[in-house]
Point group: C2
Chain length 330, copies 2
DNA sequence: TTGTAGGCGTTATCAA
DNA sequence: TTGATAACGCCTACAA
């Protein structure tokens, strides 16, 4: 059973292709009689319209691009799932790519999506492709930054109050009396990492503590960098009594590191930006910033629909939506 | 900057569209002179070919469909990532859908992919859409079942030895002297669940134990069903001393349930089909079947390329690849 | 109520 | 070495 074209269906049903199209798209008049005959033929030949051709003709694809740094991070996947769920209700589909936190791959993903004429792009970017993202906008494709800012790109954006939440998280540690804190930062250039670092600084300053007294570790948001940080901190003559970790994966790595070194998991008081879903099982000295990736995803999806919906695309009415996560102590 | 067409580029460069196409596709002869002029114009106009049109003309899309039941389950995402990584090297892209473990959504995803003329479909199916999957094959689209069988579908398939691994896992419990075991099964109809249940039966029989003496719980592979199972087992007059759980999420739920009930996490000796990446942090009475989703994904991707590559599509040379996972005791 | 025909943006065949 | 031109499969004025 090869794929059948609309022409063949038309021939078999003894009508014109226009009629087939009208029946299938419920557009224009067509007699009940003919309608049934067409539908029956369609069924018999198992006709399935070629979306590629339709997209070319209609100049719309009903596809939305989604680019995220890591498929394996539950935070992003919870976000992605929500985007997909909402868009699929409106019959939009997702072209999804995992950039692997690699700017070059991100770039080529954007190119691919552009060539495939996605109708909107949602991206948690690596911050290195501002030019590409501006190109997306220039081509009239609504761009929605999510989770992360990108320098030199003016766009709709949905993020968290990273700075504020990080500040509150560190304040929590300070209030408990900790004076020597390990700070696990994310990679410079990623806005979430930068803003969380600012938040940390702010908290320290307000508490009258000197940043120089802290142990700063520059990680890359990966599990292994958290693990490495744990090792290094543990080796110090005067190890910190508490740790702030800038994302969920590094926090996980931190605990893995402790375990490997044979230390108890409550060796440090920990404040984590981002949740470990399994933390309730073992953590008793952990506070975390509870993010809401579903809310981010949902908001993004709604914004996509609004932008695609074709409201006026004037400039200056860009949305900047900032969600405020709360902090949970275990 | 609206999207520019090949015609406009041709006009601007003072050549025909054919020449532009030849330059861009490096097909056919074109003088160095003209080539440079064309490339320069392309750059200036920021021309980006329309893949939709190209796909229509070439009758291939370079897209492969991937349908999995749950984006949030790390097992599937590790698999997905590997598929994507390998295919993207060969310039194939992925149309990815999360079926949400819902047969109807799975069905409509398949339809969408069919209309978009994917060149192959990789699916961990819900087992209810055999007819659809056969349609996929009938249309000449290579079908690769992954992780799960589907009744009444003959196809390339890449799975694990679910039965054998489950049997070994339960044997482990029996060998440790457990005589009353809680068995958390997955939903009937999903081949992995069914085969794992068979493995359990086999292990019990060989050990001369009566299945009737065990506590059977029929879950749905979800976290919450594991949690519920924990509650029910705990309520029994004579609770089991060990538990076998048929997948990672239910195992997680099991531990969450214990925690909620204020029980220690080593309350039961546990054997889990599937890994909990965070288990090292707290589990001391856990054995698990270590699956290898990356291997599944890699194998699937290679098979896709082979099938697309257009080797003869005779019948009877279907691949059935069975991976044998090992069992890890913590 | 239905049919004809042009065109969406490419690629590829054939001439020139 | 290049240029017309006919598809690819569908939709949609415009006619009838």
């Amino acid at each position: 059973m090869r794929n059948v074209t609309i022409k063949e269906v038309a021939q078999a049903a003894g009508v014109s292709t226009a009629t087939i199209s009208r029946v299938l798209n419920k557009s224009g008049y067509v007699s009940e009689d003919v309608r049934h005959r067409v539908l029956e033929t369609v069924r018999q030949l198992n006709y399935r319209p070629n979306a590629v051709a339709r997209n070319l003709k209609r100049e719309r694809t009903h596809c939305v691009g989604l680019i995220l740094p890591d498929m394996r991070n539950p935070y992003f996947m919870r976000l992605a799932r929500e985007v997909q769920a909402l868009l699929s209700v409106r019959n939009y589909h997702i072209l999804y790519t995992d950039s692997g936190a690699d700017a070059a791959r991100e770039r080529s993903a954007i190119n691919f999506m552009l060539e495939n004429r996605i109708e909107a792009l949602v991206i948690a970017g690596m911050g290195k492709n501002a030019d590409k993202l501006r190109e997306v906008q220039d081509r009239g494709v609504p761009l929605i930054l999510i989770d992360r800012r990108v320098n030199n790109v003016e766009s709709d954006i949905i993020i968290e109050d990273n700075r504020g939440a990080a500040e509150r998280a560190v304040k929590l540690l300070v209030d408990k009396g900790h004076r020597k804190i390990g700070i696990l930062c994310g990679p410079a250039g990623i806005s979430t990492a930068d803003e969380r670092r600012e938040g940390v600084q702010a908290a320290l300053e307000r508490a009258g503590l000197s940043p120089a007294d802290m142990f700063w570790y520059s990680g890359d948001f990966s599990r292994s960098s958290g693990r490495e940080a744990a090792r290094q901190m543990h080796r110090l003559l005067e190890p910190p009594t508490a740790v702030f970790s800038a994302n969920n994966e590094m926090t996980f790595g931190l605990y893995l590191g402790l375990k490997e070194m044979g230390q108890p998991l409550d060796f440090w008081e920990v404040a984590s930006y981002g949740e470990l879903e399994f933390a309730p099982l073992f953590a008793n000295r952990l506070a975390y910033v509870r993010q809401n990736p579903e809310a981010l995803g949902r908001t993004a999806a709604e914004l996509v629909l609004e932008r695609i919906g074709g409201a006026d695309r004037g400039i200056g009415l860009l949305e900047q939506i900032v969600l405020t996560p709360d902090i949970v102590c275990m």
